[in-house]
């Protein structure tokens, strides 16, 4: 093509433009690739979308493989779909394309959206037919998925935030071998000693990611809340703002830093303390092996006492499956959430066992004797609470809150202004949910 003439230059521009436009069409959202094979004789084939990578992904694969080996009637194909967000993203596209999988992992902030749109199916009859002992599930975790008296998912990879500390650094600083009991103790006693003794940052908060999950605990510790049950946004009220001020001051005072990945900084020994999911426990322990000792503790208490949310993901069965497939899916779920599997899953990942029998099993009890960090998470579990509606039920609520926290942590903006704006945005975004709930008679 001759670029030295007007026509040449323009048609080159046009060609390139068309190419770009076409390239832009091929977004990654449209994948799918989960065409359900037709049911015939032979095992019922199910497609299961997962969101666990690295160590977690391997353990998840193992669970599926054990299930497939344990019987002949059902074959589950596990397909990794990326993070919780990416999975929800693809599931939305797949539903539009009528190419949805049969089962999917849905995180605390995503399952409700699919429930409101009737994309996931109530499981009570299936559980009865499979003789699932619903009473043996940890009540709080099980009940989070109950809407209008029916269960819409089973808890699977459930977690809570946990306080992680570098034991070696604590020893060098002359601190006791335990997590701080209160934020006050940490700020006035632990942080200054750590600063004097060692180089890295005393504490790092992640900005972005699931920062609004971590802050859910902190805002409770200060007596505030994101919202009440009926979507009245309360984050901008004085106690919420006070928690925000605490975050902002942590950076200003210099004992904390805001980073992209708090676990990375902790693993590389650039931060002595972080708050992260119990689901990160095994990954952190593996990374720290041979480098430093990891300690864990309950979240520190604030002026209003203790506060810690539950989180993580459950597994749901998609609506509109043939009866035979529904039951087959429940057969897998019953297996994956059975006490035996849960005990192993928990030990290999750090997620909470969702079955009481798994927690009480000799195997688990023996395990926590030699692995005290797992015990911390289990002991903290009864003290945890279900999260505020604003984060888990408002579409994008998690990200709106996280953006607000980022403005405070990174830009050092005033929490009073930021949280007021966040509350306004959340109120607006909650409108469709409130409408949809009314339509469902909730």
């Amino acid at each position: 093509m001759n670029l030295r003439t007007r026509r040449g230059a323009l048609s080159a521009a046009g060609l390139l433009g068309t190419g770009l436009a076409l390239a832009a069409c091929g977004g990654d959202a449209a994948s799918g690739g989960a065409a359900a094979p037709a049911a015939s004789s032979g095992p019922v084939k199910l497609v299961y979308w997962g969101a666990f990578a690295a160590n977690l992904g391997k353990v998840q694969e193992d669970v599926v493989k054990q299930f497939n080996d344990s019987q002949k009637a059902v074959t589950v194909e596990h397909q990794f779909q990326g993070s919780y967000e990416e999975l929800a993203n693809k599931l939305t596209a797949a539903l539009q394309a009528k190419q949805a999988p049969d089962m999917a992992v849905l995180s605390d902030v995503w399952w409700y959206k699919f429930y409101l749109n009737k994309a996931i199916q109530p499981m009570d009859d299936l559980m009865k037919a499979e003789k699932v002992d619903t009473k043996d599930y940890v009540d709080s975790l099980f009940n989070e998925y109950v809407q209008g008296g029916k269960s819409y998912a089973l808890p699977f990879a459930r977690s809570t935030p946990l306080f992680y500390y570098n034991k070696d650094a604590y020893k060098k600083a002359g601190l006791p071998d335990r997590a701080p009991k209160t934020w006050d103790e940490f700020v006035k006693d632990f942080a200054p000693k750590l600063k004097g003794a060692i180089d890295p940052k005393q504490f790092v908060f992640a900005n972005g990611g699931y920062s609004a999950w971590i802050f859910q605990g902190v805002i409770w510790q200060f007596g505030g809340a994101y919202s009440d049950k009926d979507f009245k946004m309360t984050i901008g009220e004085p106690k919420g703002v006070q928690a925000g001020e605490f975050y902002r001051d942590s950076i200003k005072a210099g004992w904390a830093q805001s980073v992209k990945s708090d676990t990375d900084e902790f693993k590389q020994m650039n931060a002595v303390n972080i708050i992260n999911s119990t689901g990160s426990l095994v990954g952190i322990l593996d990374a720290a092996k041979g480098k430093f000792e990891v300690g864990t503790g309950f979240l520190p208490e604030g002026p209003a006492g203790f506060g810690c949310p539950t989180g993580g993901a459950g597994v749901a069965i998609l609506s509109g499956l043939a009866k035979e497939k529904q039951q087959a899916a429940m057969q897998y779920l019953a297996f994956a959430t059975s006490p035996k599997v849960q005990a192993v899953w928990s030990q290999q990942t750090g997620y909470m066992p969702v079955r009481k029998a798994a927690i009480e099993s000799k195997e688990m009890q023996d395990f926590i004797k030699t692995n005290p960090n797992f015990k911390t998470a289990l002991d903290q579990l009864p003290k945890t609470k279900f999260q505020d509606s604003a984060r888990v039920f408002v579409p994008n609520g998690d990200q709106i809150l996280a953006k607000g926290l980022e403005r405070i942590l990174v830009n050092q903006e005033a929490p009073s202004t930021v949280f007021k704006e966040v509350a306004d945005t959340l109120t607006k975004e909650a409108e469709p949910v409130i409408k949809a709930r009314k339509a469902l008679g909730a």
């Binding site: 670029l3 030295r4 003439t5 007007r6 026509r7 040449g8 230059a9 323009l10 048609s11 080159a12 521009a13 046009g14 060609l15 390139l16 433009g17 068309t18 770009l20 436009a21 076409l22 832009a24 069409c25 959202a29 967000e85 993203n89 939305t92 596209a93 539903l95 539009q96 959206k113 699919f114 749109n117 994309a119 900005n207 972005g208 805001s258 980073v259 992209k260 900084e265 590389q268 650039n270 579409p395 994008n396 990200q399 953006k403 980022e406 403005r407 990174v410 830009n411 469709p432």
Partner: protein, 309 residues
Amino acid sequence: MQAVRVPRPATVPSRSATPAWSRDLLVFLAFITPNVVSLCVFSYWPMLRNLWLSFTYWDMIAPEPLWIGLDNWIEVLTSATFWTVLRNTLVFTVGSVVITIMIALGLSLLLNQKRRGRNLVRAAMFAPAILPGSAIALVWTFLLAPYYGLISQGATALGMPMTRWQNDPFWAMPTVILVVIWKSTGYDAVIFLAGLQGIPRELYEAARVDGANAWQRFVNVTVPGLSPVAFFLTVTSILSSFQAFDVIRVMTGGGPVYATTTLIYQVYSEAFVGFNAGRAATYATILFGLMLAITVVQIRMVEKRVTYE
């Protein structure tokens, strides 16, 4: 795209009853149909649908989008986020396009001289252009990583404070721009080089005979000679910088806060993070309008200064 003109033969031997003009028309249609159909299906229809979506609320799961009139438009245009994002888009575009083109021009002038190793340098310089943006972004993320990254270690060794480049509200945008420049300079330089080699030798000789010095030859021969290429590069670079996504997605995710969120990134996060297809469509329509306006202005105003043969 140019319409294909089929030259009418001077004399057509009439072998059939079909008049010559209708056969021309058929040939014309045969040429344009595949292109027009694909443009309609993959460009124009989605554009119209997108415009319509901008007047709706849709979470991408509900069976039908809900008509809400101008709500999205009012909300977007009155939000602080929109203006931040618009400013970021302009900073990103001006920063990446202007600097890339200037460096590329300089490089191409150097490489147009007969020096040893010229071909090797040309190949090395072009290499980043064939790499996928996300791979480049990952490599740079590694280089820029706090503490262990090569650049961070170098900066620390020089006594600079440790900076989390990608997570710093000031540095995030320059960092992303730098990576985009690194990626696209080689391509632009090669196009410039082609332009330089297309300038007729005799013009330089004539200028020399007239007593023009090197600077005068550059201003009066090279610059006008390169102007069509420069124009082409400016138009296409601006359009592609408006659509730059991969590097931002991988390196900063549009953050921290909104520091590197450009219009295209905002379209993505409204649609696929927030699941608000209506608002995403509003941003997409604004982006489209902006690109159209800039291109029209470029063709109408700037092209007047371009010297074609």
